[in-house]
């Protein structure tokens, strides 16, 4: 009897050891999967586009990034202001004429006009010619334009004068007006590239278009992505960092494209109200689900300034603002939800 009991006990112990071994083996096998970060970059849409996917096979990652970049190339050929043969520039070269658009372009322009209205014209896609006048949209030297010219070019900026025909899917712009999709095109390109990556079931990746980005899933070390916010006055330093996943991030700043004349900084974000670069902020970073909208929103806050923004109905969106005096402002949502850490003020 005692022997049988001992035998049953021994069998139970052996089964238990077996189960533990299986669990250990399975967990080891799972952890043993090597993950690779595959990275690619290319100059498109007037900036450096970077992408990173985390995959189990390097060549799979290369293939996925190739397709994502092909999509961005397509968007560059359609909506880049710098690309003289783009569809956007075909519209700009044909004022006072109804231009028939494909569904995708029509929808993008419709959303752009919507953002222009939502953000009270501080974000305005008809600003192309005014930005050109300063030399920011081209390879020309940047200089302060003649004030009478600024006034003249300001009169061309008015998104309300874009005529979009929902029935025929056409657009008509006024003579003198130039559309510049700027940040929106970058945000849209990021979105489309993400769609491609998602089609392959890849969860962990990011696409970065000149500092505006969408981050998905976790980084290769199974942590939320660690993002640095560049310091607007110390070129190779970071003012803060945060951790995030599955969101869009956009930053507008006065430090990437600028010149200084007599101690005054003139940068590329032109205020349609004055015709001059905005002077209320040094840098604005926002976090939104939709990276395309985030790019427009960051520009809006940049021109509105912190004081105006905190009174607005949008102040519950995670923000990190450095005002013109260099003072840092951020909300609790940014701090608590994204593990914001100030590095250097």
């Amino acid at each position: 009897m005692g022997n049988i009991f001992s035998m049953q006990k021994l069998i139970k112990i052996l089964i238990l050891i077996n189960i533990i071994s299986c669990i250990s083996f399975l967990s080891y096998s799972q952890n043993d999967t090597t993950r690779y970060e595959v990275y690619a970059s290319k100059y498109l849409l007037g900036t450096l586009i970077e992408g990173k996917v985390i995959v189990n096979d390097i060549n799979d990652g290369r293939k996925i990034l190739y397709l994502a970049f092909k999509e961005i190339e397509k968007i560059d050929s359609l909506y880049s202001y710098q690309n003289l043969n783009s569809l956007l520039n075909r519209i700009n070269k044909n004022p006072d004429k109804e231009i028939k658009l494909d569904d995708e372009t029509y929808s993008l322009l419709k959303r752009s006009k919507h953002y222009s209205a939502l953000y009270n014209g501080l974000f305005d896609i008809t600003i192309g010619k005014l930005v050109d006048l300063w030399g920011f949209n081209s390879e020309r030297e940047i200089r302060i334009p003649d004030s009478s010219l600024i006034k003249q070019y300001q009169s061309f900026v008015d998104y309300r004068k874009i005529i979009l025909n929902d029935q025929n899917k056409t657009i008509l712009i006024r003579k003198g007006m130039n559309l510049d999709l700027g940040g929106i095109a970058k945000g849209y390109a990021i979105k489309k590239a993400c769609e491609i990556i998602n089609q392959f079931g890849i969860k962990d990746y990011f696409i970065d278009a000149g500092g505006d980005l969408y981050i998905s899933g976790l980084n290769a070390e199974h942590q939320t992505w660690h993002i640095g916010i560049k310091h607007p006055r110390k070129p190779n330093s970071f003012v803060a960092s945060f951790r995030a996943s599955n969101i869009g991030v956009a930053t507008s700043g006065d430090y990437e494209r600028y010149i200084e004349i007599d101690g005054v900084r003139y940068h590329h974000i032109i205020d349609p109200r004055t015709g001059f670069p905005g002077n209320k902020c040094q840098s604005v970073t926002v976090i939104m689900d939709d990276v395309e909208q985030a790019t427009a929103f960051a520009k809006y806050i940049f021109l509105l300034g912190y004081e105006g923004f905190r009174k607005s109905s949008f102040s519950n969106i995670p923000y990190f603002i450095i005002d013109a005096s260099g003072k840092v402002h951020y909300n609790e949502i940014f701090k608590n939800n994204y593990n914001l850490k100030i590095i250097e003020e």
């Binding site: 999967t33 690779y36 690619a40 290369r62 970049f69 940047i142 981050i215």
Partner: protein, 218 residues
């Protein structure tokens, strides 16, 4: 355009990070594992396929793999570096040298090729920056040890030209033919992963090494 051609002709940069720390040869002394592996080839797809199963055996830490287009006709080969110095995979007898020897045979290296690409695998244990990479129109044109001091290094391409200095392990642009001068305004860079990018001239100077952040917003 075929995918393979896209990677080659556009000079797209690939960078792959192997993240698991797996010691395949626990009996090898620490210094025998690779700190840097350079493979010049015209068939990156094949090289990656052949290399990937062995990566965790060659490095005893996580690693970064970059892929860059090169210019001109070049003698393709493998260069392997350990903490002890250059590893001659053709003459030395150890598990790592054997893997590299077999890899070179499969890739028919060394041989002269016309459409060269560089697969550069660096141990991510290397915390201090040790070199800078210079890219012109997305093609890697030179790597220079960061310990060198250079004045007025000139980079010229179809878009324009740029001069930079490298002194005291810091890099800065002295002059550029571009109109906006953002590259000059960027000042001195010295941290691993820092870049100076001149978009009008399609020129980039990077300090090699592990990036502190996954991404940057600006």
């Amino acid at each position: 355009m075929k995918r393979r051609d896209f990677f080659i002709t556009t000079g797209i940069i690939g960078s792959f990070y192997c993240l698991r720390k797996l010691k395949a040869f626990d009996y090898l002394p620490e210094n025998n594992y690779l700190s840097n592996l350079l493979i010049i080839t015209d068939d990156c797809d094949k090289a990656v396929n052949l290399l990937q199963p062995h990566l965790s055996k060659l490095f005893n830490s996580s690693m970064e793999i970059k892929e860059n287009g090169l210019t001109g006709s070049i003698n393709a080969d493998i260069v392997a570096v350990t903490a002890l110095g250059l590893l001659n995979y053709k003459t030395e007898k150890n598990p790592i040298a054997n893997i590299l020897f077999n890899l070179s045979k499969s890739l028919n290296l060394p041989q002269k090729i016309n459409n060269p690409k560089l697969l550069s695998i660096t141990s991510k244990n290397t915390k201090q920056p040790n070199s800078i990479s210079i890219f012109s129109d997305l093609k890697l044109i030179e790597r220079i040890p960061i310990s060198e001091n250079i004045n007025d290094y000139k980079i010229q391409n179809n878009f324009g030209e740029l001069y930079f200095n490298l002194t005291d392990r810091k890099v800065w642009v002295k002059g550029s033919s571009c109109k906006h001068k953002n590259c000059e305004l960027q000042g001195k860079i010295h941290n691993s992963g820092d870049n100076i990018i001149c978009i009008p001239n399609r020129i980039r100077i990077e300090i090699n090494g592990k990036h502190f952040f996954d991404a940057k917003t600006y």
